[in-house]
Amino acid sequence: MNDELKEIYQQVILDHNKSPRNFRKIEIPSHHSEGLNPLCGDHVWVYLDVADGVINDISFEGNGCAISKSSASIMTAELKGKTVMEAEKLFHQFHDLVTGKLTDEEVIEEMGKLGIFQGVRDFPVRVKCASLPWHTMHAALHNQDTAVSTE
């Protein structure tokens, strides 16, 4: 595999694609939203259970490419237990990361597993795949229950 390809299809991404975490529905969510990328047919639902400003549970369902599926999986793993404020901050950081605006190595380091999505910035058409679950989560927290579209 060449270097760029290794960057985008890292083992972690392939693992999460194969066995996504929190891939289920929360029956009574406090927040939920639907995300759609009409260009490639990626379709994701994000469910959250939020109480006192803390994300007690977060999950997702849907179908999509390896990038979007692993992004959703890692997002849910990372956000569980975090505050809504922290999720809001990470949403913006993640967006900057995949669009190449965030280059501060220290900040990226702090983002932990999310940092592996930096490779996506070299594939402009794939940025939407990685960010779709995040936009959907963000819309859910802001009580937008109409479908989010990347177009």
Binding site: E4, L5, L14, L39, C40, N63, C65, A66, F123, R126
Partner: protein
């Protein structure tokens, strides 16, 4: 002896010579020589067509049909020559039946808006098929919304062929229009358009055939088909983007109102009354896409120079090779097994989303299309959110297919 030599058909398809005419093919992407297999989306342009565009802008750019000066006359002549080339290309009876449009989409919209709004009423029925491109669904849905007509759909069988018995059942005295694709961009299926037309005419319906994926692959004869309208795009025919043609029967075009008003489509204008221009200018309001129309004419010359029969023979052989190569790869499932098909291989790859297939193949230098291909209903029919599609043009080679097959194996390796 000499005479025999002249009449002997050269069956040797000189693909290497043809490839030399296409500058874009000779480049590297991601450090690998480009393999272009996205021809159903758009084809590359030969140097001859590129030169014509440049010659026009450098040598005789001017507005047509109105200037008395020499440049305008030359531009008008070249523009009108393109119309004759399209006429002959489709074997259309009359030159004035050829209307230049931006592409297939605009051609269908013209017919839906002009013919449709005048002749289709509440309770009437319009038939399309399940394998239509969105461009042959949405304009008719929009017409139905305005008129109260109903859209009916010919279903597709598991091989990706139209179920003709279902079509026969759909036809009735309320059927006013049938609009069907000649060759499917997703399944590759070539539809029996002669029979579709004949059956529609039996109930008095008019027929439009969408030739966007047909004219570049085989000889189309609108008189043999018997249809009422035929549409195609230049950019899929090795010509420029932004230009296509609509052919329609004169007697229908005469009864149809103009679609867009403006300059060039009138004989005289006063605030009381405007007299529309004659065919085809009635439907070509505004300064047209002159350069690209001329370019389309030369693209037709180029294709004719190779010959559609030779193209058909070569591409069919190449398609069979592609089908064998790809089907031999474990995990690949072909979608679209029609008895009559060529040039398009759409597939599922076990456990891998098409977008990942596309990205990895691109890194291997192979350009294919991934996604729903503007045919969401057929995606739904086959239960997939998206597909990967390799589609060939006459400049592709067996080496291209080998490279693509190797790239698919690379995808499997990454996702193993």
């Amino acid at each position: 002896m000499t005479e025999e030599k002249v009449t002997t058909v050269n069956t040797q398809f000189d693909v290497e010579r043809i490839r030399k005419d296409f500058p874009v093919l000779h480049q590297s992407v991601h450090g690998k020589s480009l393999v272009y297999l996205d021809n159903a989306a758009t084809t590359q342009k030969p140097q001859q067509v590129i030169d014509v565009l440049s010659d026009y802008y450098k040598g005789y750019n001017s507005n047509i049909h109105r200037g008395v000066h020499i440049l305008s006359q030359k531009a008008t002549d070249e523009y009108e020559k393109a119309r004759v080339k399209v006429q002959h290309f489709l074997n259309a009876p009359k030159t004035k039946e050829v209307i230049f449009v931006r592409g297939t989409t605009e051609g269908i919209n013209l017919v839906a808006n002009s013919y449709g709004r005048k002749f289709i009423n509440e309770g009437d029925e319009i038939i399309v098929s399940e394998m239509e491109h969105h461009s042959n669904i949405v304009p008719w849905q929009m017409l139905c919304e305005v008129t109260g007509a109903k859209l009916r759909v010919i279903p597709v069988n598991d091989n990706g062929e139209l179920i003709m018995d279902e079509y026969r059942n759909l036809l009735n005295e309320k059927t006013k229009f049938v609009s069907v694709v000649h060759a499917s961009n997703t399944l590759g299926t070539e539809n029996p358009v002669e029979e579709i037309t004949r059956l529609a005419h039996e109930v008095g319906a008019k027929v439009l055939i969408d030739g966007a994926q047909a004219v570049q692959h085989f000889k189309v004869d609108v008189q043999a088909i018997g249809c009422d309208f035929y549409v195609f795009s230049g950019h899929k025919l090795y010509g420029p983007t932004g230009i296509g043609a609509l052919w329609g029967r004169e007697e229908l075009l005469l009864q149809m109102p103009p679609w867009q008003g403006g300059g060039d489509m009138i004989v005289s204008v006063t605030f009381d009354r405007t007299i529309y221009n004659e065919l085809p200018y009635k439907f070509e309001g505004g300064t047209p896409n002159i350069a690209d129309t001329i370019g389309l004419g030369y693209a037709i010359d180029y294709v004719n120079g190779i010959g559609l029969d030779a193209i058909r023979a070569y591409e069919s052989e190449l398609y069979r090779y592609m089908e064998q190569s790809f089907n031999a790869i474990e995990g690949v499932t072909l979608i679209g097994n029609a008895a009559h098909k060529s040039s398009v291989f759409s597939f599922k790859l076990e456990g891998v989303h098409p977008h990942d297939v596309g990205t990895i193949m691109d890194m291997e230098g192979v350009a294919i299309r991934t996604g729903h291909m503007c045919t969401q209903p057929i995606m739904k029919r086959f239960g997939v959110p998206a597909l990967s599609r390799a589609s060939i043009g006459f400049y592709n080679t067996k080496e291209d297919i080998d490279r693509a097959a190797a790239a698919i194996k690379k995808v499997i390796e990454v996702f193993a």
